[in-house]
């Protein structure tokens, strides 16, 4: 047996520790029950795209919204905005973000991580990075499948639309990063983070976006709007009304605000994890 303390090393820094937590957590996250749920969730748009493609093949007259013909790119744009950005990304953010630390607490494995010579905030950061990798790895292929199925509808060219796909993929990654960070903070600060997260994503954000004023700046969706590359059909009265209030920040402003949001919320979440006591149920 070796001499006690012989191999004791200096305390690793936050980033190297986070990378090791990332290594430890990614496999756990990819093979978790939550990822099965994620797979089912992401299968929805793909199935929808397959159905639309079949309908388009059987009825070659194309698709119309309020009488206006729309091409595959516009349908894809709507699917990205309505299904992915407004629904799937916030849902993933809520379910994964709020559980970054809570899962380890519920499984009573947090003790192993908190009794190692690493800053506690690196546990949060590493798990956040694992969340990001896991969701990006699963979401982006689904979006690409939808793209290849939908864009050719109405004679759209994949080659022409491909740059916008790359922009969409980047936007989705930014959305996953932003919502994940916000809900990581919610998960570390509040006792019922899931409920609060769902209310924020599907109550607060859609409601505030409808009205003029500054409150909408307290949403992630407001900044995400600026990153949408697709033109949406504006044929209905509600769409016209919304257009009046449509106030979208520039791409640069949005990216800066979202980056600041990610950095600030992660810093606050890390601070909360450092200070909080986790009492495991016996």
């Amino acid at each position: 047996m070796s001499d006690p303390g012989r191999s004791a090393a200096a305390t690793p820094g936050v980033l190297p520790s986070a990378v090791r937590i990332f290594d430890l957590s990614l496999g756990q996250m990819l093979w978790s029950r939550r990822s099965v749920f994620l797979g089912v969730l992401l299968g929805g748009p793909v199935l929808m795209a397959i159905a639309l493609r079949i309908v388009d093949t059987l009825h070659a007259s194309g698709f119309k919204v309020n009488g206006a013909a729309i091409g595959g790119s516009a349908i894809f744009g709507m699917m990205v905005w309505l299904l992915f950005i407004r629904f799937i990304v916030p849902v993933l953010g809520v379910f994964y973000g709020t559980s970054l630390i809570a899962d380890e607490v519920d499984d009573k494995t947090i003790t192993y991580l908190f009794t190692r010579p690493i800053p506690r905030r690196s546990v949060l950061l590493g798990k956040y990075l694992a969340y990001l990798a896991c969701t990006v790895l699963l979401v982006l292929p689904s979006v690409m499948l939808v793209f290849f199925l939908i864009v050719p509808i109405g004679g759209g060219g994949i080659g022409e639309a491909f740059p916008s796909l790359l922009a969409d993929l980047g936007m989705l990654a930014v959305g996953l990063a932003s919502y994940g960070a916000v809900f990581a903070l919610v998960g570390t600060m509040l006792k019922r983070p899931l409920v609060v997260g769902l209310v924020f994503a599907f109550g607060w954000e859609p409601a505030v976006l409808l009205f003029p004023g500054y409150l909408k700046r307290l949403t992630v969706a407001y900044y995400m709007q600026a990153l949408v590359t697709h033109e949406m059909p504006q044929d209905s009265a509600i769409s016209m009304l919304l257009q009046v209030f449509h106030e979208v920040p520039s791409v640069t402003t949005s990216l800066l605000c979202l980056a600041t949001t990610v950095a600030l919320t992660l810093w606050l979440a890390g601070r909360a994890v450092e200070r909080r006591e986790y009492v495991l149920e016996q």
Binding site: G5, A8, P12, L113, F114, E277
Partner: protein, 307 residues
Amino acid sequence: MAGLVVADHLSKWYGQVIGLNDVSVTVPPGITGLLGPNGAGKSTFMKLITGQLKPSKGGITVLGEPIWQNPGLYTRMGFCPEQDAFYDRMTGLEWVTALVRLNGVTDTEAGAMAARAIEDVELTDAADKKIGAYSKGMRQRIKMAQALAHNPELLILDEPLSGMDPIARRKTIRMIKDWGRAGRSVIVSSHILHEIESMTANILLINQGRILAEGNVHQIRDLIDEHPHSVHIKADRTRALAREFLGHDDVLSLKFEEGAVVVQTGRPDAFYARLTDLAASGEHGAIHEVTSPDDNLQAVFQYLVKA
């Protein structure tokens, strides 16, 4: 040498519930047993020692430094928690390696350290099996492997023998004693006295959030001897014996059982001396058997925690 763990008027409460109440204690180097019934405050004390909880009042230092928000200290200590929780999909070797990597060593070093620790806990044959397939005893030992893999000066083991079969229990006790002999200090908790007794003579008795007694087992016995002590005497003429006992002021109470009299005495040494004389003289008939429910550490422990 200064204490490994020094608690100074340490208290911890969870809302209205007191987990630990004004504990001041110094844990010396070597193997120390933390003994108390379930809910006594052992786990709270362990969590304070391992920096998982922040003291509500008072302070605690481990290896000379405050432990709360001091992750650097974990390079010098290893903790085996009570809960049976793992990443079940990982093999034992993968799990220990992944945790040792968090100590800042390279992947190669981590693998070698994990393999060595797994060998120390005699699990090498099962190192590549999923932890989910391990028996309870193996799971306890792999938890210990992760605690000792980085060669800590201080090992903290929370109920390490819980759920083990007798053979695994014996092996684990031997291992803990070996670690102590190798120069490690170990704090081990249990609610079963003979388990602790088999590992060390140095114990801390804890109940209702307070340290009831600390020190060597013999010192604990001396402490006990200052308190009422029961003696169960099987004899032919129990009533005659009882009359004899009542003539002495150290006898606090008497009760009769079938063929026996149970005496509670405040001075066991004097009582035993007189009883020996009585048995030798045969003055009150034959005395067949003398036992004391207090004459073993289990009873001492039970007595103290009831006090």
